[in-house]
């Protein structure tokens, strides 16, 4: 993990190459985090992967989160790893909710990291985040005819209420 000055140096170099790409930098859960503009997601990932002296060549995880009351609402997290120095860095692409009947979009990184193919499908499956340029963006875990994005915070939990005698008597 880069230390605080190292992270600021990375941020400065990325901002020099791609102005406006980095929104924020800091440390969360003992991990260096760069929050970025989703427009520049491929630029930043390619820079971190290819730049000599950095070379985060391994995408150890790609996942999404829904921070519903917050704005921007969604974030796609890329956990990058340099396996020579055993250094990790987290890239957080912040996505705003485009509103009813529209899905948030950002570029797919399958060309850079082939492992992202299934993980991007999973994120699409559960959060409804569209990855532009993905070779086969379909549902992966849920049935193909499923309606809705069940890991979003405003999705109902589902199931059925259980009518125990106690519930029946007190809440009828």
């Amino acid at each position: 993990m880069p230390d605080a000055p190292g992270l600021e140096l990375i941020r400065g170099e990325i901002e020099a190459a791609h102005p406006g790409a980095v929104i924020d930098s800091g440390f969360a859960q003992e991990r260096a985090v760069l929050s970025i503009d989703p427009v520049h997601v491929l630029d930043v990932l390619a820079w971190l992967r290819g730049r000599s002296g950095h070379e985060y060549k391994f995408l150890s995880s790609l996942h999404a989160a829904d921070y519903l009351p917050a704005e921007p609402r969604f974030a796609v997290h890329y956990e990058l790893l340099n396996r020579d120095r055993v250094e990790r860095i987290r890239i957080k692409a912040l996505l705003t909710d485009p509103g009813e009947d529209k899905l948030p979009e950002l570029d797919s990184c399958v060309e850079l990291f082939p492992t992202a193919e299934f993980q991007e499908r999973e994120v699409f499956d559960f959060f409804g985040i569209v990855f532009r340029g993905h070779p086969d963006l379909t549902r992966i875990l849920l049935p193909e005819d499923y309606v809705g994005w069940p890991q979003r915070r405003d999705f109902p939990v589902g199931g059925e209420p259980v009518t125990f005698t106690y519930n029946e008597r007190n809440y009828g």
Binding site: L141, T165, E168, R169
Partner: protein, 216 residues
Amino acid sequence: MRERQPRARDMLRGDLEGEDLERYVEERVVMTSFEKMLGWARSNSIFPLTFGLACCAIEGIPMSAVTARYDIARFGAEAGRASPRQADLIVLSGRVSIKMAPIIRRLYDQMLEPKWAISMGACSSSGGMFANYAVVQGADKFMPIDVHIPGCPPRPEAVLYGFNKLQRKIEGNPDQGWRARYGAEGTEEWARGGPRSEPSAASTEAYELARELIRA
């Protein structure tokens, strides 16, 4: 048995007559109906489908049915079949996700008649702890179930008891009417909208008393 063998020889020779012959026939012949005999034969030669869904398939079937301590071979059902075409019992062992439900339904439809289904454990019977968007809340929503076995996982004794219940159902003698046998009529509790939504006055009183005792 040894004593009877000479008498069987006598009978075949035609040496038994009169009262001896009557007694010989009474001892050896059982009168029954064809359906009863067929049910008896079927109930003691069940071929379960080799099939598992979740943790009940790990805990339940090998531990509570196949191992020597409990041994389902005592009831003639130890030969698991790898194809639904050869099986006549499917045990739903675990939670049924909505993606798996059509596949289970297809397996059940591929089984030849007569066929039976056991829903083993809380998850496949009611959804269990998985009251969420991904799990079918009870497998009897999409296929007929003969016996539900409660438990998470069920005890081995419960699994074998449920299996014996299924055997008796196959024989045409399902175990019903236990409330009448134990004098427990009027203790039914119904889900919302049932004929008796209110618990009986006696059970309410007992419940309040128990709560008082817990508080004291």
